[in-house]
Symmetry: C2
Subunit: 307 residues, 2 copies
């Protein structure tokens, strides 16, 4: 596989609070702003508390999920008096960090998220972009305290709905388990380590280091599974089974228990072998998602360096 | 110590959703209502979803913390158009399950709560009431999957602010760790075991069993500790230290680390030996409480039986 070159990454944005109750990103951005971090060697660092009203309210969002607002369609919808707060905010962020898909967009966006699922450190990105994939490979080689994994969403950039899609390159950094509204030092320290290593990688890249190609493992989204529900009330009637709880990214086989009903019955998995993730994520109850299922794929990266 | 007699416990209330995002109680009450549980042998069982609007919104509360509304003063404040929803609801619950301090009150209230703190199963009650203390002793002798502890609040009944104070006897059942808005099967199963054992105890008590006296250990509230804060913005600048996180009820000694600042400095505990609890409880951030401190006491119970 031939090596690939990219322009230097001169403008990096580190974002948090896109979901206002995911506290690692909120406190990381506030701490960096307190310390007035604006540069790292060869590049500028912009820190953005992306959903300040939701952060103040310690809620995921005020009107609608900000991290679903960055599709080309929504970013080109005119703003009116009845536009939800988060869509208005998405337009502002697109002006500040984008516009999405343009030459003016920042070079790299890292958006920090938390999950109540036991996902360790998980990078999420769209398509096959070698820059975040190489950052992933670098983080995986350096971080030993927690598993480092990647989820790739196979969605065209026009339909990419989350903040990191506004940058020329970008990824979401998802860390868990951490309850919403709570900051845990152990999780915060993993975010700090991942942030420092990302900055280190960009510095090495800009200064001419070649990052060797190779294989990395990633998970690709297949589908979502809802909770069992009462047919009359639509209320959920079961929780994630203890054998699945906290076992994100562990192979799930047909016949494995997935739910334990409140009255004590076990529900078993039917289907092909797969890898569950976002298992018992708090925010997905309202989306009717108990967990996602993924396939494991091996990606072959080219070596990359700066143009 | 002489034995003590109590009238039979003919009306028991099992409550959940007092905080609408603490899901063990919400789903326990909904499941018992689905199964139409209304009696257990010698006594009636009333199940109450106590804060339905907060439960629907999956929030702790709508206007104000319902579980601080049951003081005699607040329960005798006239209701007006501007009365907060939860205070209105407290009056309704006082009519349904009380009135507090009267002969008409239900005999026993068990109110189910969750915490993000690693508190295991913790019974909370006011004063020295031998009925909940004997239930505590019974649960402690039967439950092996998780530590069972008790916190005693030394507050006169007139000022007792939480729902269980409305019954002739009562206790809050606090179980964690569980994130707000999430139901975990392992935690739900502990609640179910504790509920079943409470019902079993009441049946044994009503049918004439004598419960032998003896010593039990409990924790009494001393004071609360706030997070370190930025003097200008009042924002918190540290998280609970990893050595304290998840170590509720473990002896804290002078010099032990209690906070780790976002910039990496450790804050050490100064003061007498004590036992922290509600360590990193989500709902206490807004109350400016990082954790509570307790003293450990030994309580001597008399034997009790039915009159």
């Amino acid at each position: 596989m031939e090596g690939t070159s990219f322009l230097p990454l001169l403008r990096v944005a580190i974002c948090g609070g896109t979901h206002g109750n995911e506290m690692s990103g909120v406190y990381m951005v506030k701490e960096m702003q307190r310390q007035k971090v604006e540069r790292a060697g060869s590049f500028s660092v912009t820190t953005v508390l992306t959903n300040p009203r939701a952060t103040d309210a310690c809620k995921r969002y005020i009107d609608t999920d900000l991290n679903r607002c960055f599709t080309n369609t929504l970013l080109s919808t005119p703003i009116t008096d009845s536009t939800p707060y988060e869509l208005r905010r998405a337009h502002e962020l697109n002006s500040q960090l984008g516009p999405k898909g343009s030459e003016e967009a920042v070079d790299l966006i890292c958006d920090i998220h938390n999950t109540t699922a036991n996902m360790g450190l998980c990078l999420i990105f769209y398509s096959l972009d070698w820059v975040p994939l190489h950052i992933y490979k670098y983080l995986q080689s350096k971080i030993t305290s927690v598993p480092v994994r990647a989820v790739q969403l196979d969605i065209p950039m026009a339909e990419a709905f989350s903040l990191e899609a506004v940058g020329k390159h970008g990824f979401a950094m998802e860390i868990g388990p951490q309850p919403n509204g709570v900051v845990r030092a152990d999780i915060f320290n993993i975010v700090k380590e991942a942030r420092d290593l990302t900055i280190e990688w960009v510095q090495l890249f800009n200064s001419g280091s070649t990052f060797e190609g190779g294989e990395v493992e990633a998970f690709t989204f297949m589908k979502s599974i809802d909770y069992p529900r009462d047919p009359t009330t639509s209320e959920i009637t079961a929780a994630i089974h203890p054998e699945l709880q906290d076992n994100d990214f562990k192979l799930l086989r047909p016949g494995d228990p997935i739910f334990l009903s409140f009255s004590g019955e076990t529900v078993k998995y039917e289907g092909e072998e797969t890898y569950p993730f976002f298992v018992n994520e708090c925010a997905y109850y309202e989306k009717k998602i108990a967990f996602h299922l993924a396939q494991k794929v091996t990606l072959t990266l080219p070596s990359i360096n700066v143009k």
